[in-house]
């Protein structure tokens, strides 16, 4: 594997109660590249993604073995400060979820948590990251309105701005465009393309076409196991495993995946 990995997963096993949701995962996520996690519903994509910022800790009956190394440090080590880790790993969820406050406050929320109080600095941060999420021009005149009044697509871009404002190193996205209309989805995708060189990005997606458009690296999961992972072109054109081949060709599990291909 290339030495340029940002997140390495070693012998990771995850259980929800008795259910063995992820089995023996070994994986390296390349630095400053966009990695897409693909696979059929319920295979464990969200579970893998959330294991990277320890959001799974909130689940009842959650159990883990193995290691997840971020920048060489095992994040499940009891000495690790979870808040630091989570600040480093921005998360974009499936449904945009704005916090119950104004647009401005949503973006300023993270920086405030981490101790920035100066109004002028906050103003700057809010403007910069709303720009970065290409939302600024649409909301600059109503920064102090409740964020819940934005359209869903705008809300998702606000969530992106909010995540970027804490200056993460990694952006995790759990099907970040699945609740959006095609145009909004495209705008988010464009942002991702532009952010690619700056952050390590890990995006879960149902859409094979989206994975093809965006990803440098692909991880294919099936029934809780990583079947295959590798550079995007290689994996799509010359899949080694027959199950990967079937999935990317859209002939997997009685037409389940068909609807997502072409």
């Amino acid at each position: 594997m290339s030495g340029q990995s940002h997140i390495s997963v070693k012998n990771l096993n995850i259980w929800y109660g008795k259910q063995h949701a992820l089995q023996n995962i070994n994986l390296d996520i390349p630095n400053k590249k966009l990695t897409a996690i693909i696979g059929p519903s319920g295979c464990g994509k969200t579970t893998l993604l959330k294991s990277f910022n320890r959001l799974l800790d909130l689940q009842d009956g959650f159990k883990i073995s193995g290691k997840v190394l971020v920048d060489g440090e095992d994040i499940y080590d009891p000495k690790v400060e979870v808040t630091h880790l989570r600040k480093k790993m921005g998360l974009l969820s499936q449904r945009p979820c704005v916090l119950p406050m104004s647009i401005y406050e949503n973006v300023a929320y993270g920086p405030r948590l981490h101790g920035i109080k100066d109004k002028r600095v906050l103003d700057e941060i809010v403007e910069r990251y709303l720009q970065e999420a290409s939302l600024w021009s649409e909301v600059k005149d109503r920064l102090h309105q409740p964020a819940s009044r934005l359209s869903i697509g705008q809300q998702q871009r606000l969530c992106l701005a909010r995540g970027l404002a804490v200056e993460p190193e990694v952006i995790l996205g759990d099907e970040p465009t699945s609740a959006l209309d095609p145009i909004s989805a495209e705008r988010i995708e464009q942002r991702f393309m532009e952010l690619k060189g700056k952050y390590t990005m890990v995006i879960v997606t149902h859409l094979l076409r989206q994975a093809k458009r965006l990803a440098d690296y692909i991880v294919f999961i099936y029934l809780g196991q990583v079947i295959e992972h590798g550079p995007a072109r290689e994996l799509f054109e010359k899949p080694k495993d027959s199950r990967t081949k079937a999935y990317v060709e859209g002939s997997f599990i009685e037409g389940y995946a068909n609807q997502y291909v072409i």
Binding site: L58, T83, S93, C97, L99, P100, Y109, G110, G163, V166
Partner: protein
Amino acid sequence: MNTRQIKDTIAHKSMFLICLLVLNLALLIAWGLYRRAQPILATKSLGELLLNSTWHPGSGQFGLDGFILGTIWVTGIAIVIAVPLSILTAVYLAEYAPRKLSHLIKPVIDLLAGISPVIHGVWGVITIVPLVRDYMMPFFTEKLPFLPFSSDNYTGFCALTGGIVLAVMIFPIIISVVCEVLHTVPAEIREASLSLGATKWQTTKLAVLRKVYPGLVAAVILGLSRALGETIAVLMVAGCSLFALPKSFFDPAYPLPALIANTYGEMMSIPLYDSAVLLAAFILLLLTTLFNVAGWGILLRLERSRC
């Protein structure tokens, strides 16, 4: 029409009638009280009744001031004690406690809500009255010998005792409403805040409680309206004698419901007496209804505007 449809129509119509009946009952009660309070309203001005502290039915003095003030003292103390404690308890149960523990404690809290008020009253007389009389009152009168702490009522049956017992009685209702309300907050809000690097307490305080703020208000109002109407337990522990206006925590308080329960039906030969007591009942009904409507209104609005 076949029989199935006939049955359906009958069920529909009869349920509508029953519903109407129940609603009318409430209105009838209000109207009845108002009618019976009419004689005193006709002879005395509202100011004379509400801004006057002399309650001396024998000589035709019906100032409700002392009772209204007693109500405010007792419910005020109860709210001040109960609100922070029960909101924090609910936050602990809903946000922090392991699922198993909160499943264990919830039924116990519901059980508490079902305990008969008279039991609370007895418990108050046995434990809170001596506590207030032997420890709290001497402590306060020595350390803070001025109003509202000093009093010459050394019995332990006082506003503070009533407030404490009432607080314990309204714990369960506030806790369970706040718990319900916290469960309506989608997990995504917590995840969003946590994944920005917030601690759990920051998340609870800045995102979750903020989201349900109207719900907290509603819970408090529901507790308040319960406290306003509570009668027997207060009657047993709050002193309920009217020498002067209650000015101190340790003065006896005589809230409206206690007045009604204590005096209605006695000495009805005194002119206007029953009318005055029923006016008190009418005021109480208005207040409780008002608080309840406000509480539920806020809750409903919250439910409609969910994330």
